[in-house]
Subunit: 172 residues, 2 copies
């Protein structure tokens, strides 16, 4: 498989997981958090699927997205995730219906370590029955997920290991 083949499959997996998650949170109130805005493609996807029905907050180190694919200033949180996410959690609590974390870099070890740390702070942000969609295996480093989380079955077209979905229990 060429890198072009593999990239297309990754994007299709990403879209399938996000679309699955948007269905899964229909009865879960709360905003959507996009951790790792990047070029804004998945933010635009979430926005176009959700319309004005949900607030979407996007987090990134700096703004790399085209302004047309970035949230307004009230919904964009720039800075180091280690500052911005815990502060957001302290301010709003566990309110998010969906968290999409697309934070992997070329450095696999660093990406996995960050995903392990992210799992903890995402748990502080995630509402009961909320869903996490991630490009990283959030249990790989310690072989466990935050309490009350379960890996959700992937959409049939997504190869295991390509993208990850977790769901938080109704009661932790």
């Amino acid at each position: 498989m060429s890198r072009l083949d593999s990239f297309i499959r990754r994007l299709q997996a990403q879209r399938a997981c996000l679309d699955w998650a948007l269905e899964a949170i229909r009865s879960v109130p709360g905003p959507v958090l996009e951790i790792g805005l990047g070029n804004g493609r998945t933010y635009d996807h979430l926005r176009s699927r959700l319309g004005k029905a949900r607030a979407i907050f996007a987090f990134d180190r700096q703004l790399a997205a085209h302004p047309a694919c970035a949230p307004d200033g009230d919904h964009l949180v720039l800075g180091d995730f280690r500052d911005t996410l815990p502060r957001f959690a302290r301010r709003l609590g566990a309110v998010a219906a969906l968290v999409h974390a697309d934070t992997g870099s070329g450095d696999e070890a660093a990406s996995q370590a960050q995903a392990q740390w992210l799992a903890g702070v995402v748990n502080d942000l995630l509402a009961p029955r909320g869903v996490v969609v991630s490009d990283q295996d959030m249990s790989s480093q310690r072989d466990r997920l935050p309490p009350g989380w379960q890996a959700a079955p992937l959409p049939p077209e997504v190869q295991p290991g390509r993208y990850f979905i977790y769901r938080k229990a109704a009661t932790a």
Copy 2:
């Protein structure tokens, strides 16, 4: 359609056009030229489909691809296209069986003007019966193609205007 949807369709169109072109040049000898190496995804695709059967030369302003997805120094030509492509044409002549030009930038007017200029120099590089696959309409500015070129029918899954294929006649 979200930007994620649109991006997936563009990559699928790109792959379908390249795969079509690789079939179409089976009986056309000569190297493949990748104009606009970028991150090396389509270079890797061409390389993985062709194996060692053809030389592939890649051109770009500077190297942005991961070294694993870049050609060796003998097949990588860095610098301004306005210098490197005419020089290559003077050195090797019209020998390329396939030219893939993925050169569009965010600036549509500049991309189209560059594509019009590229059509001329690609013609100097392209063998008879050779194929051009491009992300730009190479006839849009002057409403004409280089002599002997024809737009080829797109693969059925590719929406017109998303990607472009041209073929040079056996005799100009």
